[in-house]
Symmetry: C2
Subunit: 307 residues, 2 copies
């Protein structure tokens, strides 16, 4: 199984409106509520692909209970820990059904106590022997020290398991010395994290600082992969319009599956680009459209990149 | 005490942002969560004024539990009933702190079962002997028949208690034959309910159909009151900018207090306009600014209106 860790999970609430009017009262035409946060979305994609997965996250309060209940309902195996204080966060996404435009209101969530972080690390220690890969995803909750991912990467590396890290900024940079097997920022996150406007240069910098490989998503232009063995670009054969939320989590799921199978990262490129497109084709993060994945996978154009 | 009934209560969630960007991810800079719905707001204003009040409403699920917990925390006496099915609704209001612009996303809420409606009516029957006035406020939940307010007005009238009804459309029109002592639409609600663009004409129509009095709020222009004894206009001495949400509930609180004291409606006009201004001065519905009320009350201009 693949173990996903989401330090800052959420209940993702999606409201649909024909159109959203600022400064007015908008009556919700339809609503969905489900467990979210990047690692939970990765678990949802893997579960949909039939790959064994376990999701862990700290959960708190009634919103934490709602997240847990949705994981149960979705059939996603989970081993969450109780964070005694506060209430897990919600994100509210208002989707305008005419244009598909999505406006997100993201709560910051509760402070993670040292005790709750300890419980989360213990849970990962406990589950890592049974895992074939470890996926660490998303922002850190308030109160979590910047070296939280460093600590979690070390647990995976010490157990000899491939570790994928999908975060940005200080938590990403602080974790690099532990040697994560793949880091996966998108171009904007990479630029914000490294100060490099050029993705190829930014990826190189991440490897210099300790990452063993970096996959940089470039939105509709596909993906740039840099490993110690070389560099590649992977491009979808056509551009898809839709909801890009969750595309990065689908990419992470594809790479995690490759890691669990022992494949080198570049062999996962076609599936990664295809799954990202399959996520764009679906309005909710964590969902992928199998038809789109099947259409895109054999047509992804992969070229070696100058080093 | 004054008894307020809110058939469609809500957990009102307020998010603050420097500015709201459509089609983007907006990080919540501050959040409040509290019990709401129009009758709950009326109870909150009365409680703040030191007037004994009891709020009742059907509550369901974890959001219902959060509403109940907030009523406890706020010290508002309540006697809510358990609606077994579903989860009480939430409203999400995004306030831009720069301009004060408020964008509301309102869930429709769960279906009210016949059983839950029966429990609510029984609760009102049980509490009405101890009440000096009955306030019925807001939209009806899905599943509640259009004559729900007719039924509740009858309970109040049969007990000899003054009944204030603040709703619009079919639920308002259907309740008029029971003779509510005061109906309190704003000008837009009145126009939508009666088809009359002129508030004076609309108010006259409501009295012809059975209402004993009608107070029509005209926003910054104040208030029009029509009773069987005459008609009045009440104007604030100056215009206040702020959040108009909750101004109508503050008006209802002022009239309910007058009713509980046995005063005729027109003697409540100055306090009603002043409390509405005091609500506009505060960002959250149900809050009133005592300083603003004290400034406005002695300066409200009251003139008899042509009949």
């Amino acid at each position: 199984m693949i173990l996903t860790v989401t330090p800052n999970p959420a209940l993702d609430v999606t409201y649909r409106f024909p159109e959203l009017h600022l400064g007015a009262t908008n009556r919700v035409a339809g609503a969905d509520r489900r467990a979210g946060g990047k690692g939970v979305n990765v678990a949802r994609v893997l579960h949909a692909l039939g790959h064994p997965v376990t999701a862990t996250a700290p959960l708190a309060g009634p919103t934490g209970a709602a997240i847990r209940a949705d994981l149960d309902r979705s059939g996603i195996r989970h081993a969450c820990v109780d964070a005694a204080e506060g209430d897990s966060r919600r994100t509210v996404t208002a989707i305008e059904t005419g244009t598909g435009r999505a406006t997100c209101l993201n709560e910051s969530g509760p402070v993670l106590s040292e005790d709750a972080l300890g419980l989360l690390c213990d849970r990962v220690e406990e589950l890592i022997p049974a895992a074939r890969a470890l996926v660490l995803s998303g922002s850190l909750p308030r109160g979590a020290p910047a070296d939280t991912y460093l600590r979690l990467v070390r647990i995976g590396r010490a157990a000899g398991r491939p570790v994928l890290l999908d975060t940005e900024g200080e938590p990403l940079l602080a974790a690099l010395p532990a040697g994560p097997d793949l880091v996966k920022p998108n171009a904007d996150e990479l630029a914000r994290s490294t100060g490099c406007a050029d993705p190829a240069e930014g990826a190189r910098l991440l490897l210099e600082r300790g990452a063993r490989a970096a996959a940089v998503s470039l939105g509709a232009a596909g993906l740039l992969l840099r490993t110690r063995a070389g560099a590649w670009r992977a491009r979808p054969h056509r551009t898809l319009t839709g909801n890009p939320t969750g595309a990065g989590d689908a990419l992470a799921a594809a790479f995690a599956r490759a890691a669990a199978r022992g494949q080198p990262w570049h062999e996962a490129l076609a599936e990664a680009v295809a799954l990202a497109a399959a996520a764009v084709a679906r309005p909710l993060a964590g969902d992928v459209c199998p038809g789109t994945a099947a259409e895109f996978a054999p047509r992804v154009e992969i070229t070696p990149d100058a080093c």
